[in-house]
C-alpha cells in the first residue's frame, strides 16, 4: 500500500517539475514521456526480476537519502548526439528535486550500443565525471560487452548508489530494508554509525582480500579477444577500452558515456 503511495508521489513530483520546465525547452526531437517508475525499459532487455529488484532498491534509496536515481532504457537517439539527447531529456524530465538538482539518470540505448550516466549539478560533487566514467567503463560497458544487460544495469546502479552514498547498503535483502524503514522514526542515534562501521569494515575486508588475493582472484570482468584490426574488440588492454568517451558537462552537470 505504501509502495503505491510512494510511486504516486514520485510520479506527481516528476510531472510538476516537467510542466514547469518543458515550455522553456526547445528540443528538436521528441522528448519521451516522463517516467512513472524508477526503472523504465521500453526494450524488454531487463529481466522482470531485475526490474523489480531495482525498482524497490531505488525507491528505498530515495526514501533514505532523498536522491532520485532512475534508469531509462531505449533503443536509439537516432541522429541526435548521445550527450545532447540525454542532457536535454534529463532536463525536460526534471529528475531530482527542484532547486537541488539531485538526480541521476542512467540511460542505456540498446540499438546504439551506447549508455550514459547523466548527473544533476546537485550531485556532481558526490559523483564526479571521473567516477561516473569509471563506473561506465568498468561495470556497465564491461557487462554489456559480455551480453549481460541485467548485470550491467544493476551493477551500474549499485555502484552509483554506493558512490553517492557510501553508507547505503545496496545489497541488503529486501526484508531487512523493510524492517529498518518501518522503524525509521524510532531509529536510535547510533544506528548510522553502526551501519557506517559495518560498511567500513566490509570495505577494509574487501580491500585486504584483494591485496591478499593478488593476481589469481577473479576473472576481471572477462574479455573479448580478436586479432583483426579495426574492430571495436581488438587490441586494448581491458574491456571497453577503445570506444569509451568521457562525459561532456555541457548541460546539467556531466556524466560519462560508453559504448560496447
Amino acid at each position: 500500500m505504501s509502495a503505491i503511495a510512494a510511486r504516486g508521489v514520485l510520479a506527481s513530483a516528476l510531472f510538476a517539475v516537467a510542466i514547469a520546465v518543458a515550455p522553456v525547452l526547445a528540443a528538436d526531437f521528441p522528448i519521451p514521456p516522463v517516467p512513472h517508475t524508477y526503472v523504465t525499459d521500453g526494450t524488454g532487455s531487463l529481466s522482470s526480476a531485475t526490474t523489480d529488484a531495482l525498482e524497490s532498491e531505488l525507491k528505498s534509496y530515495e526514501k533514505q537519502t532523498g536522491n532520485q536515481v532512475i534508469v531509462w532504457i531505449g533503443q536509439t537517439t537516432s541522429d541526435v548526439p548521445l550527450e545532447d539527447w540525454t542532457s536535454t531529456v534529463a532536463h525536460a524530465w526534471g529528475i531530482g528535486h527542484k532547486g537541488k538538482d539531485d538526480g541521476v539518470v542512467l540511460f542505456v540505448f540498446m540499438k546504439d550500443h551506447r549508455a550514459r550516466i547523466e548527473v544533476g549539478y546537485g550531485l556532481e560533487g558526490d559523483l564526479p565525471d571521473a567516477k561516473a566514467s569509471e563506473i561506465m567503463r568498468n561495470v556497465i560497458v564491461a557487462k554489456m560487452k559480455s551480453g549481460d544487460v541485467d548485470a550491467a544495469v544493476s551493477g551500474g546502479v549499485a555502484s552509483i548508489l554506493t558512490t553517492i552514498t557510501p553508507s547505503f547498503a545496496s545489497n541488503v535483502p529486501a526484508a531487512d530494508l523493510a524492517a529498518s524503514s518501518n522503524d525509521d522514526e524510532s531509529s536510535p542515534a547510533w544506528l548510522p554509525f553502526l551501519i557506517f562501521g559495518i560498511f567500513f569494515g566490509v570495505w577494509i575486508l574487501v580491500f585486504v582480500l584483494r591485496r591478499v588475493g593478488g593476481k589469481g582472484t577473479g576473472w576481471g570482468g572477462g574479455w573479448i579477444a580478436s586479432s583483426s584490426g579495426g574492430s571495436d574488440f581488438s587490441g586494448g588492454s581491458d574491456f571497453g577500452g577503445g570506444d569509451f568517451s568521457a562525459g561532456g558537462g555541457d548541460f546539467g552537470g556531466g556524466g560519462a558515456s560508453g559504448g560496447w
Partner: protein, 127 residues
C-alpha cells in the same frame, strides 16, 4: 583454481588461426558464475561484433560456469556444417575436463583455423 586464460596468448592464437583464411574469429571470456544458455549468449554477443565483410566465428567461454559455445555465421555453417562445431567442441571438452581453460581455447582455435583454411581459404571471393 583454474588458471585464467591469458588474453595475449589467446589473441596470438586467433591470429594464427586466421592466417590463411578470410574468416574472422573472436573469443569472449565471461566471468559469469551461471550461464544456462551459452549459445543464446553467444548469439547476443555475436550480433554486436563488427564482423566486417567476411564470415565469422565466436567462441564463448565461461570458466566459472563451466560452459562454452562456438558459434559461426551462416556462411561458415553452410560450408563446414555441424561436423565442424562437433569436432571443435569435442576437442575443447577434453581440455576443459582437465581444468585447462586456456588449453581448451587454444586447441579449439587450432581446429577452427584448420577447418577455415580448408573451407574458406584466403583469396576466395566473399560468398
Amino acid at each position: 583454481m583454474t588458471r585464467i586464460p591469458d588474453r595475449e596468448a589467446v589473441s596470438r592464437a586467433i591470429a594464427d588461426a586466421e592466417a590463411g583464411t578470410t574468416a574472422r574469429i573472436h573469443v569472449a571470456l565471461l566471468d559469469d558464475e551461471r550461464l544456462d544458455d551459452p549459445l543464446g549468449r553467444a548469439r547476443t554477443i555475436f550480433s554486436w561484433l563488427d564482423r566486417g565483410e567476411d564470415a565469422g566465428v565466436l567462441m564463448l567461454v565461461a570458466p566459472r560456469a563451466r560452459r562454452f559455445a562456438v558459434l559461426g555465421d551462416d556462411v561458415i555453417h553452410e560450408l563446414a556444417g555441424d561436423e565442424l562445431w562437433q569436432s571443435v567442441t569435442a576437442e575443447m571438452t577434453s581440455h576443459f575436463a582437465g581444468d585447462d581453460v586456456e588449453g581448451a581455447i587454444l586447441r579449439g582455435l587450432d581446429v577452427l583455423g584448420d577447418a577455415l583454411r580448408r573451407h574458406r581459404p584466403a583469396g576466395t571471393l566473399p560468398a
